[in-house]
Amino acid sequence: MNKEQTAKDAIVARHPRSPEALLSLLHDLQTANARNHLTADDLTLAASHVGVPLSVVRDAATFYSMFSLVPRGQHIIRLCESPNCHLAGAWSALDELRRLLGVEVGETTADGLFTLELTSCLGACGVAPVMMIDDEVVGNLTPERVRGALARYRRGR
């Protein structure tokens, strides 16, 4: 706990003490948590650092789709369902993801490894259909490519 506290303090110290730093700070705090989410303590810490009420921090943390207040998997899978990926066959990728992960959209696998989400356009339309696993773009999705990517992450990337 103490070690975690120190790590969080170090993250916070990298950001200016002003409201405009809030989103960057929340990104960093969330990344530091193994379960890809923001804890109640994180929000309090962020509020006191940038000098805004806790309600404003909660407001932002619940508004943006990249933040989560509930624990998620170690890796976040975000499959694009915007028109271009839709046309290119996002549904067959989704079927395969559901089948392999055994979860529905919005859920986390029992082993805590993956959370499956749908997202709006990721700006990688040249390789539609596309998903992102954390920061990595995985494109030209076919059931085989989905299987390959998941296997790679299960082996630890």
């Binding site: 960057s24 915007s82 028109p83 046309l87 079927d95 390789v127």
Partner: protein
């Protein structure tokens, strides 16, 4: 650029990364040194070469040879056969029969202004940008021109905002310049989120200094000392490249304190977004920059007088700012030789979907949709026919084939009750269902509606419900009228362009594809709609 006989340009973008470009780069460099070519051949990492769907693409210049689907195992052969013996490796060249296959010719039909350096210079080396005339315009602006001269030049060039609205850039700058508050900001909108669009990402990754130069010129023109680039949080590589570019420019005294040793100072900061399409709307973006949820502000007042922290602020799109250096360097009169009288210059498009050659192209304003699809996009796949085109992204228009001769510029499209938007061109052949595609558009808007105003929050919800009845064969004769009624109400009553713009895809789809809606009304859902219903759990799976 270091002098070398031959340059091997390796396009590095997300697509190339996932195709294993890092290993290809390493193998190429090793092969070059193995054949003792290091003095004559330089392997350069560049942004995307603008060719999608072909894995790792490299270009050998000045030979003009493009290789696609390159793997590490090919490096030795390319080095030995082509670079050493001068015989291009035929089996790796993009095939020569289809337009897909002749990128040099396809590039030749383009007018690359904004993308001129993308894939040509190493975006991580400021020296290369400077070597092609980069930062010359900024240098001249701050040493030889008054801010008013700069604004006048941009006005004369007739530059209009490339984010979608097409507002004259010079008029915007002028309003900030003459605002009473001396504390002002330049904000670059790099929150690219319009579905089917990734032009700004290519500029950020392929030529970051051009954007920085445009921003600094804007800063000088309006009297701002701080520029902020708001980049969507998902664009990790863009953020890294632009941060590197800022550091390099500051180290050379081109940005930061005393730009080119004048009294003008300009600092640039990068801020990541966190996933919200509505933040591409300028007042939502400003709210987000202030650390709040991205809810649009009620306008007026406009950002030019009350922007970031209530101060006069210029908000310009990436592509708009990337036009500025050339306007100053080559002059407004030259700029006006491109494009149309009311929309001078070029426009970057993403041509995607059912075309042979999907990817990014830059052509003059006023180019027809037909040219874009059949010449630059290589046309449709063999024995396929065109059903329609979604122009302008989700907030765009569904156009039937009879609109192929539409000219793509702000005014020509407005006359046809369509919009240029972000420049996304999604081509659909007969296998696509327009009702199903409209469903995808409407779910996008439901997800991205920010929830502030009722017409949009509730309207998008109702629209998705209505389209789902059409897609599952449960619609009745009032469904289409209800769709129109809802979007018309949203158009007049929504707070911001997000809600207002939903009318465009809905109305154009209904007007241009009546037969398609009629068959769905008759209760005969098509295979794409059935697949959607299954995926979303509307019918038993």
């Amino acid at each position: 650029m270091r002098l070398a006989r031959t340059h091997v340009l390796v396009g590095v973008d997300d697509e190339a990364r996932l195709a294993g470009v890092d290993a290809v780069l390493a193998a190429l460099r090793e092969a070059v040194s193995q054949f003792d070519l290091a003095g004559e051949v330089q392997v350069v990492e560049t942004g995307s070469l603008g060719i999608s769907g072909h894995g790792v693409v490299i270009a050998v210049q000045p030979d003009g040879v493009y290789y696609a689907g390159v793997t590490p195992g090919d490096a030795r052969e390319i080095a030995e056969e082509h670079l050493l013996k001068g015989r291009p490796v035929a089996r790796l060249r993009l095939p020569t029969t289809a337009p897909v296959a002749r990128p040099a010719e396809v590039l030749g039909r383009q007018t690359r202004l904004v993308l001129a350096n993308c894939g040509v210079i190493d975006p991580e080396r400021i020296e290369e940008y400077i070597a092609v005339g980069g930062y010359e315009a900024l240098g001249r602006a701050v040493t030889e021109m008054t801010p008013e001269d700069v604004i006048e030049a941009v006005k004369k060039a007739g530059l209009r905002g490339r984010g979608g609205a097409g507002f004259p850039t010079g008029i915007k700058w002028s309003a900030v310049r003459t605002a009473s508050d001396p504390e002002r900001y330049v904000v670059c909108n790099a929150d690219e989120g319009e579905p089917g669009t990734f032009k700004d990402r290519l500029i950020l990754e392929g030529d970051p200094h051009k954007l920085l130069e445009g921003m600094a010129i804007a800063g000088y023109a309006v009297g701002a000392h701080i520029g902020i680039i708001y980049i969507r949080g998902e664009y990790a590589l863009s953020i890294a490249r632009i941060e590197r570019a800022i550091a390099d420019a500051e180290a050379l005294g081109i940005l930061g304190e005393r730009v080119f040793e004048t009294d003008f100072s300009f600092r640039v900061e990068v801020r990541p977004g966190a996933g919200a399409y509505v933040c591409g709307e300028e007042t939502s973006l400003l709210e987000s920059l202030e650390g709040k949820r991205g809810w649009p502000r009620i306008r007026p007042p406009y950002p030019v007088t009350h922007g970031l922290w209530g101060k006069p602020t210029v908000v310009n799109n990436v592509e708009t700012l990337a036009n500025v250096p050339d306007i100053l360097r080559r002059g407004p009169a030259w700029y006006r030789t491109l494009g149309t009288p009311t929309c001078p210059g070029t426009k970057v498009y993403t041509v995607l979907g059912h075309v042979r050659y999907p990817g990014l192209v830059e052509v003059e304003m006023g180019t027809t949709l037909r040219t874009l699809i059949y010449e630059l996009g290589g046309g449709l796949l063999p024995s396929r026919s065109l059903k329609g085109v979604l122009v302008g992204g989700a907030a765009g228009a569904f156009l039937p084939p009879r609109e192929l001769d539409a000219r793509l510029d702000f005014d020509s499209l407005a006359e046809r009750a369509a919009a240029l938007g972000s420049g996304a061109v999604l081509v659909m052949d007969e296998s696509a269902c327009i009702v199903d595609m409209l469903g995808s558009v409407l779910r996008f808007f439901r997800h991205e509606s920010c929830g502030q105003c009722t017409p949009c929050r509730s309207g998008t919800e109702v629209l998705v419900r209505l389209i789902s009845t059409l897609q599952t064969g449960q619609a009745d004769e009032t469904t289409l009228a209800q769709l129109i009624q809802i979007v018309d109400a949203m158009r007049v009553a929504s707070l911001c362009p997000l809600g207002q713009s939903v009318a465009l895809p809905v109305r154009t789809a209904l007007a241009g594809f009546q037969d398609e809606f009629a068959t769905h009304l008759a209760g005969r859902p098509c295979p794409p709609c059935a697949a959607t219903a299954r995926a979303l759990g509307w019918a038993p799976r």
